[in-house]
């Protein structure tokens, strides 16, 4: 246990804060899935040049190429979070595909895709879930049939965020229909402009279409676009699911949100009293602060473990479940602070910024469900973390 930063780190933090104060006006704001603007692309390039984004990705693939340094990564994340600025682009291509290609891609694939992905030139969407295959993802039915130099893909994907503006999709398809369900899946990189792909927006409870359905009709995908071997897609995908769960429930996001809530409590009044002076709200704030701090220290533990290449076990398994619930609860608290004004979701003279909190409150509920539902997370925690057995398969009476 040593949280002391050496002089090297003190000056590194200074470098980061200086960079932020000089360049904050150039920062892109949007993290929602819209195609990055020219300004955001430039910002991303600047961040990679400084090593604040794509920090450990080798230079030959367009990254900064630094050695893994737990404390420096932490300093960057903290300072960006303090300034309420997104730490570069966050999309599924960067957070999920790139780590997968680095681990399992061919040289050719790494060279073709990593650089363009981290720069924001190529945007990816994820094609995993299907209408009939949610928690039981391995039962997926979208099939890819071997035909000469290509696979021919037919089927449907759902919950595809950003599909309408993506160039490419990393996608799970069934290539070996006769193999056991986990062994018949392959991992394909599909060009979204290929004929036969249709994207339909999926309206959610937030009133927006953050996700899509994607339909495939005789879509031809060159065989060179497979990552890993045929039938090994499940294992390739699992490498990225771990990355996704690390991304969902990011404690820096919770810390930023808590800071915004404290600002809100200092600005808003009710019956002439500042909300920050109300002991009942303060008690709730303190409860949430303890949770935010716990998750943030938990992430220090994970950083140290990953640096030492040791397994953080339970500390890692709980991140998605806890982090998403915590973010949802934070948004819910902000809404309660605004009371009846907290329900405003549209243009109004009485709007005190509740729209943002309501959107988060609802969208975070989506995140509690997505990326492996809370129920599935609890199965994983109890099975992998506590050594409890899988639920036995029911015996279906009246069926064969």
């Amino acid at each position: 246990m040593d949280l002391n930063a050496g002089p090297e780190y003190v000056s590194f933090r200074k470098e980061v804060t200086n960079f932020l104060s000089e360049n904050i006006h150039m920062a892109g704001k949007a993290r929602t899935p819209v195609r990055p603007s020219k300004q955001e692309l430039e910002w991303q390039k600047k961040l990679i040049d400084k090593g604040y984004a794509a920090r450990t990705i080798p230079q030959e693939y367009g990254g900064f190429g630094a050695d893994s340094d737990v404390l420096k990564s932490r300093i960057i994340a903290e300072e960006f979070s303090q300034s309420s600025i997104p730490l570069g682009m966050a999309n599924q291509g960067i957070s999920m595909l790139v780590p997968t290609l680095l681990e399992l891609g061919t040289d050719e694939q790494k060279k073709s895709w990593i650089s363009k992905t981290i720069s924001g030139e190529v945007i990816w969407c994820q094609g995993y879930s299907e209408p009939g295959s949610g928690s039981d993802l391995a039962s997926l039915q979208t099939k890819a049939v071997d035909d000469g130099d290509d696979f021919v893909v037919n089927g449907q994907k759902i919950w595809t965020s950003g599909a309408q503006m993506s160039d490419m999709m990393f996608c799970l398809v069934r290539t070996e229909p006769d193999a056991p369900k986990h062994k018949g899946i392959s991992y394909l990189l599909i060009d979204m402009k290929t004929p036969g792909i249709e994207v339909r927006p999926l309206m959610t409870m937030t009133g927006h279409a953050e996700f899509n359905e994607v339909f495939f009709t005789d879509v031809r995908v060159p065989k060179s676009q497979i990552v890993g071997k045929r039938g090994e897609g499940w294992y390739v995908a699992n490498a990225t699911l771990t990355h996704e769960r690390g991304m969902l429930g990011d404690p820096n996001q919770s810390a930023t949100r808590l800071k915004e809530i404290i600002d809100l409590m200092q600005e808003e009044t009710f019956n002439g009293e500042k909300l920050i002076d109300n002991p009942v709200y303060l008690d709730r704030l303190m409860k949430l602060q303890a949770r935010v701090l716990s998750m943030s220290f938990n992430s220090l533990r994970l950083l140290t473990a990953s640096h030492k290449k040791s397994d953080a076990k339970m500390a890692k398994l709980i991140v998605k479940l806890n982090g998403c619930q915590l973010n949802h609860d934070l948004a819910g608290f902000a809404i309660d602070l605004l009371g009846e004004l907290g329900t405003i979701y549209g243009k109004s003279n009485h709007d005190h910024g509740s729209g943002k909190w309501q959107w988060k409150f609802m969208f975070d509920l989506g995140l509690i469900i997505g990326g492996g539902t809370a129920q599935i997370q609890k199965n994983i925690i109890s099975e992998s973390g506590l050594g409890m057995p899988r639920e036995p398969k029911p015996i279906l009476e009246g069926k064969k």
Partner: protein, 360 residues
């Protein structure tokens, strides 16, 4: 930077665990709760033999000069085994109070005796956190009178009592006349607390003033949080173990998702508490400006999560959890006491808010 236990810390924690697993079981807790006082003496001897009372005390006074994090790791194991022996007051709060100002006479006199285990020290700071009616101390002509309740580690005829009056820490040698100590019957039979009545007793002032009082309370809170962490970990572990043995509907109950999800929720709530506790304990020795706030958060948050774990893990045992047969209630009650002493969750969160300037 490294946010992990060192090899030495792991070894310390393992060796304490090994000692406790060899010496403490449910029958011992039961006999202790029935009043077998020989048990206290026996456990105390083993703890002294391991050199644990001197863990925080500097080497010049015969201790091992370790920190609050190490003391917390021991407290976690004491919580895991519900150990009936003085620890938080005697070995952590008292040495912290005495050593607050380096090289004072009282430290020189008493710290070596605490380290060697020749005496025990009781800490009576309940009223410094918050006074109930009919309690509190008064100073008249350098003599103290009054009542302090829920004092920690007063069960083995403590030679000294450390308490506070008029924003000063004071020390009372119990060989002086006018001190009466009696145990308060609480839910927790594993860890006695006492009431002390002072009738015009001579005192000595421990240097350090309000800051020393605050620091002593801080470390006490962190250590109580560590005890809750250990007790809660044990309850989850035992609940999972039981769920893999107990069968209903021809299956172990641990294969039902209803039971698995209860266990997963407990584990998911408790695991980040470990990170919070490590940080809070480390801050006490290394990050002055965060020490007050983090001790509040550790105490309040572990109290809340500990209570949930105590309830849900008892439910996993079904009817057996409610009986005396398995004895899980010893941990349920130990967590219940830790939650309230040195400030319950609401009181401690109020302090956390004040520390940040939110409440005037």
């Amino acid at each position: 930077m490294e946010f992990a236990l060192s090899e030495e810390q792991e070894i310390l924690s393992d060796s304490v665990k090994k000692m406790l697993s060899e010496n403490i079981d449910i029958d011992l807790l039961r006999n202790h709760s029935k009043g077998d006082e020989g048990i206290r003496e026996n456990i105390r001897e083993i703890v002294v033999e391991m050199g644990l009372p001197g863990i925080l005390i500097s080497e010049e006074y015969g201790g091992s000069g370790l920190g609050i994090l190490e003391a917390s790791l021991i407290a976690e194991e004491f919580g895991r085994y519900a150990v009936p022996t003085p620890w938080i007051g005697n070995s952590v709060m008292a040495p912290t109070a005495l050593a607050f100002k380096k090289g004072n006479n009282l430290a020189e006199k008493w710290l070596p005796l605490i380290a060697s285990g020749e005496i025990t020290a009781c800490v009576a700071l309940t009223e410094a956190v918050g006074k109930r009616s009919n309690t509190g101390l008064e100073l008249n002509n350098s003599k103290v009178s009054g009542t302090s309740i829920f004092a920690i580690d007063g069960e083995l005829n403590p030679r000294i009592i450390i308490t506070a009056v008029d924003q000063e820490l004071i020390l009372i040698d119990t060989e002086n006349t006018g001190v009466t100590i009696c145990e308060i019957p609480t839910i927790d039979s594993t860890r006695p607390v006492v009431e002390i009545i002072f009738d015009s007793v001579d005192i000595e002032i421990i240097p350090g003033g309000e800051k020393a009082i605050q620091k002593t309370i801080n470390v006490g809170r962190v250590l109580l949080a560590a005890d809750i962490l250990g007790a809660s970990s044990n309850m989850i572990e035992k609940a999972v173990e039981y769920s893999l043995e107990r069968k209903q509907f021809n299956r172990v109950i641990g294969s039902f998702q209803a039971v698995k999800h209860m266990c997963a929720e407990m584990a998911a709530d408790l695991e980040p508490c470990r990170s919070l506790l490590w940080y809070a304990a480390y801050a006490q020795d290394n990050i002055d400006e965060e020490a007050d706030l983090l001790s509040c958060h550790a105490k309040a948050h572990l109290s809340e999560i500990g209570q949930d774990v105590a309830r849900v893990s008892t439910q996993v045992f079904g009817g057996m959890g409610f009986t005396d047969l398995l004895g899980m209630h010893y941990w349920f009650k130990r967590i219940g006491l830790s939650r309230q002493i040195l400030g319950g969750p609401e009181k401690v969160r109020q302090e956390a808010a004040k520390i940040q300037g939110f409440l005037s």
